[in-house]
Amino acid sequence: MSDDIARLSEELARDPASLAFLELAETLRKRGDLEVAEKVAVRGLERHPHLGTGHDVLARIYADTGVFEKAFDEWGMVLRLSPGHPGALKGLGFVCFHQGRMAEAETWLSQAAEVDPADQRNLGALAYVRQQLADSEPAASTVAAAASPSGPPAAAHDARSLFHDILGAEQGMALLLDEHGLVLAGGHEVDGRDVGQEVGAQLGGVSDEAERAMRHLGLGGWTSIVFETSQATVAMSPGPERSLMLVSAGKATPVGFVRRMLERSLQRATTFLAGSA
């Protein structure tokens, strides 16, 4: 990755009007150098203000930085330049979700699903958002489902119950999170309320953060994180497509068994994300 950055930086130095800024900014973003990535993207857009891909990259950088208002504006710009851009539609849905604007999130993610119906991660996120809407407004949801030609969101139920048989009698939690902490599958109820997204919000970006730190420390890739609480043992591991798999069980459950549950859940998640579940 360092070689790529050096090569792209040289290319940009040779030709400041080069589109190499796109790849350079994205590479820097993935590496976590968000401040530099932002500078590169902004400078590039000064020369190419009507380049939708450039605004998309800048929006991702803002989203990773947590500046959701700016991310929203940039993705809005992408849609003006490239109507139907799936990345922008998903991005806008993501921002709305993080801001608690579930109905708007559902609208954006639905549009993304129409443009790219094979994107399983988007479908998982959409299913989760729909489930949240259904949980918070059961009456309105019933009306909407009845009015919808596609019927109720069956996929939401499938995603939520994806790990039920693995958890079995453990009464624990199983969540598959994307790199931003959005729930792709699974759930966890406390007092009848699904708190999966609240758990996910705290853990969004953990995988990237651990990966970067391990690289700096020369410890190789991270394979698992286990934390124990007064009531439970929670185990996490990196999943496919930068996702994070998390399972938990009561304090009485041996840690080795929790790890076994994690491995089985990860296999299930891999199949789910591949779209063959």
Binding site: M173, H188, V190, D191, V195, E198, V199, A201, Q202, L203, V206, E209, A210, A213, M214, H216, L217, G218, L219, G220, G221, W222, T223, S224, I225, V226, F227, E228, T229, S230, Q231, A232, V234, S248
Partner: protein
């Protein structure tokens, strides 16, 4: 020069086989409060990651209704990071894969229960 209140605890940890770093970090900002670190180990990276992971785990556990977080352990291909926390402080140990993590963990919990972190 006066020893820090954590010197004995950190000393006991780094004397364990395979422990390459031991430190107390602030959970809020990931800054090192005190550390005993092997040459070449990037203590500030360990501190920042450990504090962030521990804070995230603690908040996630609260959201899940699981009570207080006690121990966190990260496993990587070539080592482990173990952390216990209390009162906005996190006690961290970095170990090689071949270390006896059970002993390290016991030493850390002993320090925690003994009031080393307040």
């Amino acid at each position: 020069m006066k020893n820090s209140p954590f010197a004995d605890l950190l000393g006991a940890l780094v004397r364990q086989r395979g422990v390459t770093a031991a430190m107390v970090v602030s959970e809020a900002d990931g800054l090192i409060v005190d550390a005993q670190v092997s040459i070449g180990m990037r203590g500030e990276v360990v501190a920042a990651l450990s504090a962030s992971l521990y804070r995230r785990a603690r908040l996630a556990a609260q959201a899940a209704g699981y009570g207080e977080t006690t121990v966190l352990q990260l496993e990587a291909e070539q080592g482990r990071i173990c952390a216990v926390g209390k009162n906005d402080l996190v006690l961290v140990a970095v170990t090689e894969l071949g270390s006896n993590i059970g002993l390290v963990r016991m030493e850390m919990l002993k320090g925690l229960q003994g009031g080393a972190l307040g």
